[in-house]
């Protein structure tokens, strides 16, 4: 927004925004700080913020005990794989509903969302049995299938609502000019939709990365992603805050870094500023 603002106003807004942002971020910051504490210091009261003996011992312990890279690899394959497959299926569907809506479009959308309403805990046993018979237990493929299907409705929804903002008149105009459907998609729709697709993709990767019910219960050792990594550090007998904090920091780090680098796309991608 290119509005003229005074520096004083800008400073005021900045202070307010930074204050709120740090407040929201604080639990994560606290986790990261705690990961450098000893277990005893982690539960000290009053809490110490910086003035403690910084140690890497929790990270050393985590590194010794777990195959962190295997878990990261599994998480990456599962979240990227499911996101790409889901995108392949959802883009045409969202396009179709956004530009050729019928009387039933809204119903179809609602129905798609409603497929997510069956609580996962209720269907674990049937799924486990089916996966056992298909040989999909503890495989990345098995998890990719589940996450693809789980997030598909959300993807379609998000893409649909972005596509909806692309004015139909532009497309109408192309068609008048005799553009084929293929040309329409490649030259007109795609460039306009890329930012939206990119941010949908990013959001979906995050959701898949954080999924912790199926990824934990369908995997055993080979396909175990970061959710299982976390579960091996939470709540043992004895103090575990520093170790869990270290494991959490390691689990969050890749996705946070990805978010950091792509946050412009994540945000700008949803704007369609150029369209309006």
């Amino acid at each position: 927004m290119a509005r003229n603002v005074t520096t004083a106003k800008r400073v005021g807004w900045s202070i307010a925004a930074w204050f709120v942002a740090l407040l929201i971020f604080f639990p994560i910051l606290w986790t990261v700080i705690t990961s450098f504490k000893s277990e005893g210091a982690a539960i000290a009261f009053p809490p110490v913020f910086f003035d403690f003996d910084w140690t890497l011992s929790s990270y050393v312990e985590v590194q010794e005990r777990s195959d962190y890279l295997l878990h990261v690899w599994n998480s990456a394959v599962i979240s990227l794989g499911s996101t790409f497959i889901a995108l392949l299926i959802s883009i045409p569907a969202a396009w179709s509903m956004a530009f050729n809506p019928t009387k039933r479009t809204k119903d179809i959308l609602m129905w798609m969302l409603s497929t997510k309403m069956l609580p996962a805990v209720a269907v674990l046993v049937p799924f486990y049995l089916a996966y056992k018979n298909l040989g999909l237990l503890d495989t990345k493929l098995g998890l990719i299938i589940i996450l693809t299907m789980m997030n598909l409705p959300i993807l379609i929804w998000m893409l649909f609502s972005y596509f909806k903002e692309i004015p139909g008149e532009i497309l109408e105009a192309c068609r008048m000019d005799g553009a084929t459907l293929g040309q329409e998609i490649v030259y007109i729709l795609t460039p306009m939709a890329v930012p939206g697709i990119a941010s949908t993709l990013l959001l979906n990767i995050i959701m898949a990365w954080n999924e912790a019910f199926w990824t934990l219960n369908i995997s055993a050792s080979q396909a175990a992603p970061l959710s299982a990594f976390i579960a091996s550090y939470s709540s043992p007998e004895g103090l575990f805050w520093a170790k869990l904090s270290a494991a959490s920091t390691l689990a969050i780090a890749p996705i946070l870094i990805m978010g950091w680098f792509s946050q412009k796309q994540l945000v700008r991608g949803l704007t369609f500023g150029a369209v309006k």
């Binding site: 509005r3 971020f25 994560i28 539960i43 269907v123 929804w157 969050i252 996705i255």
Partner: protein
Amino acid sequence: MATTQMRTTARLMLAPSVILLLIWMVVPLAATLYYSFQNYSLLNPITSFAGWGNYYYFLTDPAFSSAVVNTLLLVGGVLLISVVGGTFLALLIDQPIFGQGIVRILVISPFFVMPTVAALVWKNMMMNPIYGIFAWLLSLFGLPPIDFFAQIPLLSVTIIVAWQWLPFATLILLTALQSLDGEQIEAAEMDGAGAVSRFIYLVLPHLSRAITVVILIETIFLLSVFAEILVTTNGGPGTATTNLPFLVYTQALLSYDVGVASAGGVIAIIVANIVAFFLMRIVGKNLEA
């Protein structure tokens, strides 16, 4: 107007999604319906036909009615916090501030944290009445600590879940906000419209679709929250934080009673659809835009 050919193509493009989702819905649903009429416990491998017994058992559970209420309160509470909070956050971040990129990443980062981790961190490091951060803050003012999970259990869980979903709402609303016509705002400013009336007459209508999307998508996820409850309160004290998914969980993964858990799953779908129906009535019209 679209041609017939266009219509056909459109249908073809929609088909894979619909077919896959249909399978995804029908197979588990059929299995769930089947098991919901069976006496089937994992730990007791003798099965028999149960009739409506499992449904009767789940519906007459003393915790059932409070579970429905808690489910709705949790969904409503988180929606309220994340939509209202998200709108203000989005407006705040949209201001010309120093380090906008960093502020943005700080605000959306709770979204990157796994639910179980978030719950563990909040329960033990933030809300613990003896060595948590809040207890420490209150003690600075000479106030007694709040015993979060005993005095305000459902609100505490709501806060934790809202913390995770606030970034999502902020993100969607922020992007919507950025597509707002700056000139229009400036014109209104020139005409002497105050910040509040600019917000009510210009910004809010512009955000209505985004808010609808946030509400719908979050509702779907919030109806099935249970990891946070499991970690913090185990559904207690009493049934103060037991929602429907948690009730199903106690049947499925504590009692390993597949029959009752399936009946609970079917009931949860019905409740979710009722919620969705009313939701569509209230906010659905925004979708036609």
